[in-house]
Symmetry: C2
Subunit: 343 residues, 2 copies
Amino acid sequence: MKFEAVTIKDIAKALGLSTSTVSRALRDSHEISAETKQLVLECAEKLNYRPNPIALSLKEKRSRSIGVVVCEIANTFFSQVINGIESIAYDRGYNVIVSQSRESYEREVIDLQFLASRSVDGVIISLSTETTDLTHIKALHARGMPIVLFDRIHDDIDTHKVIVDNYRGAYDATEHFIKQGFKRIAALAGSEFLSITAERLAGYHDALKAHNISYSKEYVQHCFYGGMVFSEVEEAMNKLLTLKQKPDAVITTSDKLTTGCVKTLKRRGLDIPKDMALIGFSNSDIAELVDPPLTVIRQPAEEMGRAATELLLQLVESKRPVKDFEKRVLTPELLIRGSAIKS
Amino acid sequence: MKFEAVTIKDIAKALGLSTSTVSRALRDSHEISAETKQLVLECAEKLNYRPNPIALSLKEKRSRSIGVVVCEIANTFFSQVINGIESIAYDRGYNVIVSQSRESYEREVIDLQFLASRSVDGVIISLSTETTDLTHIKALHARGMPIVLFDRIHDDIDTHKVIVDNYRGAYDATEHFIKQGFKRIAALAGSEFLSITAERLAGYHDALKAHNISYSKEYVQHCFYGGMVFSEVEEAMNKLLTLKQKPDAVITTSDKLTTGCVKTLKRRGLDIPKDMALIGFSNSDIAELVDPPLTVIRQPAEEMGRAATELLLQLVESKRPVKDFEKRVLTPELLIRGSAIKS
DNA sequence: ATGAAAGCGCTAACAG
DNA sequence: CTGTTAGCGCTTTCAT
C-alpha cells in the first residue's frame, strides 16, 4: 500500500490551469506571469506537492543516484569510503545505492547488472577478490555507464581511478622494519590477483632489495579471501611460524588480515613485537588501543570516497564523452606505534 | 551522456509486432502464441533487452528500493546493521539507499524527505541524537510510507521496531561489576533523549538498586553527541575522574563512547581495570585485542538489520494497511574480558 | 492471438 | 502568457 501523491495535475485542476502552465510556473519559467506563478506556488505549498522524481527520471533518462559496489560494507576501510561517497553525493543531490559482492565474482556481476538495470547514473566499484574476468565491467562501461574504480582497480579498464600509493605505503613500512633492525620480514597478503596486493608486495620487495635483504618466497603468504575466512589467516600464519628461519616481523596488507594476524599471534601466546613485530594496513579507529598499539598504514578512506564521487559526477554530468581519465593517487599514512618497535 | 537502452519498441519494430504483444510475450502471458513468445524472447536476447525499471516504477508506483537513515555509516554497529539490511534486500530484489544524519536533526529531516521524494518503498531509520520533534517521521508515516525503527526508537511512532534488550544488557553489565566487587560504578552515556540511553541507564540503575548500592547523580555523565565529538568524552571523563569519590568502574553506552573512554583513560596513564574498570556497548571486532581486552555488550547488529528489513518488506508488500505492529527485542551478549575483572 | 489506445507524472515543442 | 499535444517505457483495458 502506498499513499497517493499530489501531482501537477491536481494543482492544475484546482486552479483551472493546464498542466504545462503549472509545470512551467513550478520551474519558474520566464514565460509565466508573476501572479500565476504566485498562485501555483501557493497551491503547491497548500497541497504539499512533491515532484515525482521517477517521472522525471523517465523523461530525463537519469536517476540522480549512484551505485557503489564493495566487497563488504562492515569493514572499517569500506565503511569510511562509503561515508565519503555519501557526503559528496548528498551535497550534489544524489542518492547512494550500496551493494556488496562479499568477495564473490558472481555477486559482483549481479550487483552491477542490478544497479545498471536500476538506472543508476554511475557506479563506484572496488573489485572483488575473485574477479579476474572484467567483461561485465567493460561491457557496462562500453555501453556508456560512467564508472570509477577505487582501491582494487585494474589497468584494463580505462576510466577514472582512485587509490592510495600502495607501493609507497608498503615500502615505507618495510623500510621502517629494516631500520629498526628486523631481518626476516614476512608479508601476509591477500589474493595475488588483486591490484592492491601486487602494488603492496612490490613496495615490500623493493624496500628489501634496496637494503640488500634477501627474501624467500615462503615469506610471502597469500590469503585468497583476504581474511574474510579466519581459518585462512591461521593457516597462512602457521606456515610462517613453522619456517626454519622464522620471520621476526610481518606486514599485513589489509584491515582484515591485520586483525586476523594479531588474533592469531595472541591466541598462540606470542608476543608482539618481541616474537614477531607487525605493521598492517588498517583503518581501524582503535588500532592505537590494541596491545601493543598497532603500527598501521592508514588510508585516507573518506577522502578516497569523496574523490571517487567527484570524479564520477564529473563523468555523469559531462556533456561530451570523456576521453582523458585520471588516476588519483592519495598518500597513505604510516602511524608508528609499539607493534613495530625493536625491543 | 548515457547509453541508449533497447526498449520494447525496438523489439516490436524488429519483429513487426505491436509493443503490447511484445510486452505480453515478455511477461509470458497466456494469450500469446508459443511461437511469438519464442520469437520475442530470442529477439530480446539478441538485442540485449533490459526492462526499464523506472518506467515500471512510474506505472506501479513502487521503486523496489528502500531507504536507510543512520547517524553514521562508518560506525561498526551501523555498518554491521547495514550489512544485514543489504543481505535481505538483495535476496528480495530491493536496492538499499543509505544516508546519514550525522546526528543532526535537520539532516535527518532532509534525508527523509529526499528518500520519500525519491519514491523509496519504505524506510529503516535509527533516530539522530538531536531528534526530539518527530513530526517529520509521523507525517511520512501518516501518508502511508512504511517505516521501521531500530536501535534509537521512539514510542510515539506506531510501527515495527527492532532493538536489543538494552535494559538487560546494561543490567547484566552492572551486575557483573557488582559481583566482581566494584563499588562505585559510573556511567558514560549518550544524549538523555535517546531511547537507548534511557533504557540502558534504567538497567544500570535497577541493578544498583537491586544490590542496594547507592548512586549519586554525578556518576552519570552524558555526552550529547555520543562520542562523535571527542572533546565531549574527555570533558565527561574529567568530571568523573575529579569527583571526591572517584568511581572504580564505568559503563559506556555506545561504541564511540567506549573507544573514547578507553582513549581518555590511556592518555591519562590510568590503568584499566585497576584505576577504572570498564564495560562498554561495542560491536568492534577487535575489542578483544585491546589492552586490556574489553568487556563488551555486543548487539547482534547484522541480525537487527535483517529483522528490520524483513519487517519493512512485510509492510511494503502487504496488500492491506497493517495495524498490528511488532517490537522485536533481540538479546545482547555480554562478553567478559579483562577490562572488567577486579584485580 | 494480436493491435490500438490510454495512462503513470512530467516536460517541451508547437500553437495560439 | 497560456494551452494543446506528444512522448519518455511500460502495462493494460478494450477492441478486433
